[in-house]
């Protein structure tokens, strides 16, 4: 697993590198302390996983998550000071697959690296109650369709939407990427839900992964 670290605190990066050095299956291939130029570095180093801080000099890096997802195939793990669930929700909606608060013990961070590199969603806000609550809200039932499509095959557009849902992206982000209205995406989502019998965001993530999307 090729990992890139983006954090403006050299101590944080040093700690991470030390942590990773003990792992045989993870190597740090690039480091950056700001968003400027980080994309090129990620592409050149062919990073498969980017560990990203949310507060960097030169602006908040939340928009950069979407850029990374669009321009590279790297998975994104957010490692930040911010323990407010709103930040986690925004980061996951932008396309991050993991969200870990920096005060978590190193073992949690290792677990997060492993999980995210295998394509599994990982969240730890260093507060069990809030983390559980966030999981629950992420898994709220989606809008259900009123037409019966069950049993029919997915169209190519629906497959595309399913693939993106599987990455944990929100309707809004998908709408933006496919240049559709959020309402249309919701309709697609409802149709897919009917056709393959899925309900929650977690179902979508699991199904998409099982299908190898």
């Amino acid at each position: 697993m090729r990992v890139m670290l983006i954090d403006d605190h050299s101590l944080v990066r040093a700690g991470l590198k030390q942590l990773v050095a003990a792992q045989s299956d993870i190597v740090v291939v690039a480091e950056a302390n700001r968003v400027d130029g980080a994309l090129e570095m990620a592409q050149k180093s062919r990073a498969e996983l980017v560990v990203l801080d949310l507060t960097l000099p030169g602006g908040a890096s939340l928009p950069f998550v979407a850029v990374l997802r669009r321009e590279t195939s790297a998975k994104v793990l957010i490692l930040t000071m911010h323990d407010d669930p709103a930040y986690a929700r925004a980061a996951l909606a932008a396309g991050a697959l993991g969200y870990v608060v920096k005060s978590c013990p190193e073992s949690v961070l290792l677990e997060a690296l492993q999980s995210v590199s295998r394509g599994r969603l990982f969240i730890d806000l260093d507060n069990d109650e809030q983390t559980d609550h966030l999981w629950k809200t992420l898994m709220q039932p989606s809008i259900s369709g009123d037409t019966d499509y069950s049993g029919s095959k997915l169209s190519s557009r629906e497959t595309e939407v399913l693939r993106m849902l599987g990455q944990g992206l929100s309707n809004l982000v998908i709408a933006e990427r496919l240049e559709l209205s959020p309402k249309t995406v919701a309709t697609y989502r409802a149709r897919i839900a009917e056709k393959v019998g899925l309900k929650t965001t977690a179902d979508f993530v699991k199904y998409a992964r099982d299908m190898g999307f």
């Binding site: 605190h9 101590l11 944080v12 000071m81 925004a90 920096k102 005060s103 073992s107």
Partner: protein, 305 residues
């Protein structure tokens, strides 16, 4: 040889001077007009005609004088005051943002490394006594970290800059609900995902903060509902409680009572409007509407720059 600049009367003279000037101007003008009137008019014109010419003369002499001596300085003073106040507010916010950022991402970052390191260390130290000491130290560092975060939040929540007004107000409501015996609900569906001009978001946030503080301090309410919505091209905030209501709002409040005045001031500076509706025994509704200037996508704010 050098020079001296004395600035005692920079904008407007003290009120009694203005008052005296007005009285003297009117008396002198009236005197002059009465003296010249018989020479201007042919003998034995009617009383009505007399009065009309008198009025016209008096007005046309006094109005420019009053304009230059009173109205213009007052206007100037008002304009200057408005600029001063809005600069002061902007400066305070900028400074608060900077300190909050230093606390959260400077001090907080170091404490975070300490917490995370001590926690990991405690897993390695198996010996009973050292293990306990490390766990204690980790707890102390954790407390210091959450204090630093709390202080930063109190100065200015980074949420407001990073994720916008709706998220910041939601967090404010959560904090109040956790600390007071008060049910707080937030509805902000129509503004979620929208970003507005920095001044607008800051003003709305501070207004909401003060309104909530008033509800906690004075209302004895059990419920408060916060509604943030887009009404046409206006951003609208309503904070309504089911408390005891306000009996009357004094025009010049006793010292210290500056909350509502501050709200009105912030609203007027942004060409907005404040409405307070209160029924004694049933509760208070505070409504603020500000012109909703959208923020351009590119100009995302950042604390460190």
């Amino acid at each position: 040889m050098g020079w001296r600049l004395t600035m005692q009367r920079a904008v407007s003279p003290p009120p009694w001077v203005v008052w005296g000037m007005v009285l003297i101007t009117i008396s002198l003008t009236e005197f002059a007009v009465m003296v010249t009137l018989p020479r201007l008019l042919p003998a034995n014109t009617s009383r009505v005609w007399d009065s009309i010419v008198d009025a016209i003369l008096l007005t046309s002499i006094i109005s420019p004088l009053m304009w230059w001596s009173t109205v213009r300085p007052l206007q100037e003073a008002a304009r200057l005051r408005e600029r001063f106040v809005s600069d002061l507010i902007a400066g305070t916010e900028r400074e608060r943002r900077r300190i909050a950022h230093e606390l959260h991402d400077g001090l907080g970052q170091s404490l975070t490394l300490l917490v995370s390191g001590l926690r990991s260390l405690s897993d390695l130290v198996r010996n009973d006594e050292p293990h306990r000491r490390v766990v204690d130290l980790a707890r102390i560092a954790q407390q210091a970290l959450s204090d630093a975060k709390q202080m930063a939040m109190g100065l200015r929540p980074s949420l407001l800059d990073d994720l916008g007004l709706a998220n910041a107000i939601q967090r404010l409501a959560d904090d109040v609900a956790n600390h007071e015996k008060l049910g707080v609900s937030v509805v902000a569906t129509t503004v979620e995902g929208h970003r507005f001009l920095d001044e607008v978001e800051t003003a709305m946030f501070r207004i909401c903060q003060e309104a909530l503080q008033n509800v906690c301090k004075h209302s004895k309410a059990s419920q408060v509902a916060i509604t943030l919505s887009l009404a046409g091209d206006h951003l609208r905030l309503e904070v309504s409680d089911n408390g005891q209501g306000i009996e009357s709002i004094r025009r010049s409040p006793t010292s210290g009572q500056l909350g509502l005045i501050g709200i009105r001031e912030r609203a007027t500076l942004l060409r907005g409007q404040l409405t307070i509706v209160s029924v004694v025994g049933q509760g208070t509704r505070l409504i603020v509407e500000l012109p909703a200037q959208r923020q351009k996508e590119e100009t995302a704010r950042c604390a460190s720059c």
